[in-house]
Symmetry: C2
Amino acid sequence: MRGGRCTRLSVDDRKLDVLRAIVEDYVATQEPVGSKALVDRHHLGVSPATIRNDMAALEEEGYIAQPHTSAGRVPTDKGYRLFVDRLSTVKPLSPPERRAIQTFLDGALDLDDVVSRTVRLLAQLTRQAAVVQYPSLSRSTVRHVELVMLAPARVLVVLITDTGRVEQRVVDLPADADDVLVGELRARINALVTGQDFASVETRVAELGERFGPEDRATVAAVTATLLSTLIERHEERVAVAGTGNLARYGQEFDHELEPLLSALEEHVVLLRLLGEATSPTPVRVRIGSENAQTGLSATSVVTSGYGPGELALASMGVVGPTRMDYPGTIAAVGAVARYVSKILAPH
Amino acid sequence: MRGGRCTRLSVDDRKLDVLRAIVEDYVATQEPVGSKALVDRHHLGVSPATIRNDMAALEEEGYIAQPHTSAGRVPTDKGYRLFVDRLSTVKPLSPPERRAIQTFLDGALDLDDVVSRTVRLLAQLTRQAAVVQYPSLSRSTVRHVELVMLAPARVLVVLITDTGRVEQRVVDLPADADDVLVGELRARINALVTGQDFASVETRVAELGERFGPEDRATVAAVTATLLSTLIERHEERVAVAGTGNLARYGQEFDHELEPLLSALEEHVVLLRLLGEATSPTPVRVRIGSENAQTGLSATSVVTSGYGPGELALASMGVVGPTRMDYPGTIAAVGAVARYVSKILAPH
DNA sequence: TTTGGCACTCGACCCTTGCAAGTGCCAATT
DNA sequence: AATTGGCACTTGCAAGGGTCGAGTGCCAAA
């Protein structure tokens, strides 16, 4: 009978098929799925009893589990992982969804607007919570540095990057300064750093003090120190969040764990760790349940993607939801949005 | 017996006393409160039966209601209103709370930092969701306007206010411009608007075009238009939110209404309407349940206060929570934080 | 290797019952 | 007139008990 009358699957192939069916059904219905329901909904050519054997094996191997002795099976984190890695095909977005991405993002005015639109778009498309990291400074180049005197011993430092991002800091100077000194400093800094990327700025600015008289060195040092700390500390600091309300719909399911989840979504430090360091824009990354235990979100899955103009990603964006999420759909949405935003950010 | 052996309350006074007791007990226990429990916990010198009569009267007048025919009484919005207006005394903050406010806010670096610390502080003190509006531009004065050429026909407009706020916009010019023109424009704009408040800027900038040659007028107009729209549109736009997780603790109580609430807390437009227009920093304002029905938050109460350096408030901050909240404590916390932040923002 | 049958488990649901809290009313008291 | 104790009534809630159904594991047969 093996390899017989029709295109027959080998045993292991069918087991994987069963796992896929379990994941799909469970994600759709939110209820433990049993052997009978499985053969009804998917046309596997075998009887429930056969499925039961396969399920027992899958449970043995840790891919599924049963919440109660006599209930259906539920995928484990390990099961979802296998599903994502080997069993799912990327689900292409529907034309309306594609249109939504375009119309939603094309009207963006500046960088802030791009980010805020993106995060709301992601939340809406996936019906989950979305997180978007502002493009990091480290990979951008400096467009302009502006110094503005606020008081005799206070200067506002404004840093403008080629991605249109503006960072500001107030510096208290060790001694009073005049417009001439500040003007000269502004000119020299700009001559040194305009067009440079972050790493270069660090080395170039260091030598700056030598070109000024000893009496001004402290002032120069204060300004450059602030400039550098702005670059470093605000490095990848800011994130935008939207769609937390979508998680409340799953509320019952997270049970009483909703509060720490919402708290975590307000903690930008946690979110940044969650988004991880961006590598290259293309691949979408999935972390499932216990895989992000360090961040205290072991009940959730996270789907992220880097984005940015070139081949290198400037930052990350992603979606946070229950482990029982529609992985193919979410992966497709995050990937599509990340690609589109990257295109928008490309130099024009 | 009236006015007899001890300090006796008149009937109406006792009814109010009963209402106060009901509100306090209900807020503390979250459970409908009955006549027996009332005389046990508060030493009113009368029997449960008497209290029952008073409660019947209070219900008649709409201050309390019973969820089920034979359950205890629960305050209505009208009851809370009376409680807040006439029955509650401001509960002074505990010394640890005062210390927390100081240590938490004193380390703030710049305006962004003040706002983000404030909102987290409020959320922590009240154990509810907190909202803080960034100081509005309209009451601030202009410290400096900076123009930076990004490309021959693109200029970045940066607006710096005396509160340390920085707003930015990119302008596409109708024609190429050179550094000379931009430099002159920068000088003229700053001469006109530095130190002026928003209302003055609007009139002063209008005449600017006349001082330039006809060929440059379109360029000048583009820049000034952006400057004005920045002042107007970003008017009171930004808000910070924290503590949404605290609302999840009340989760059961909001029942399935948690999702729209979380969504509303992400809609800055709604929040701004909620905070309302700030008048003067001092009085704390309370909106209870149905009183803010327009914003779709009729199940919640909102406690707000204006804040800002002078007698006029620059912006508002507040707290959103269930109608069954600890009003005296919340009012005290919001008031104290608003006063402290105002002090920090005062010119130094 | 697959299949049908069968006994077993266990949560979900429904119904009943008892309980406790709370109310409203009334007659008695001060 | 206000207050009080008593009493009957309502009603949600929790506990107990029985049934049902979905699902499993195992085993013998094909």
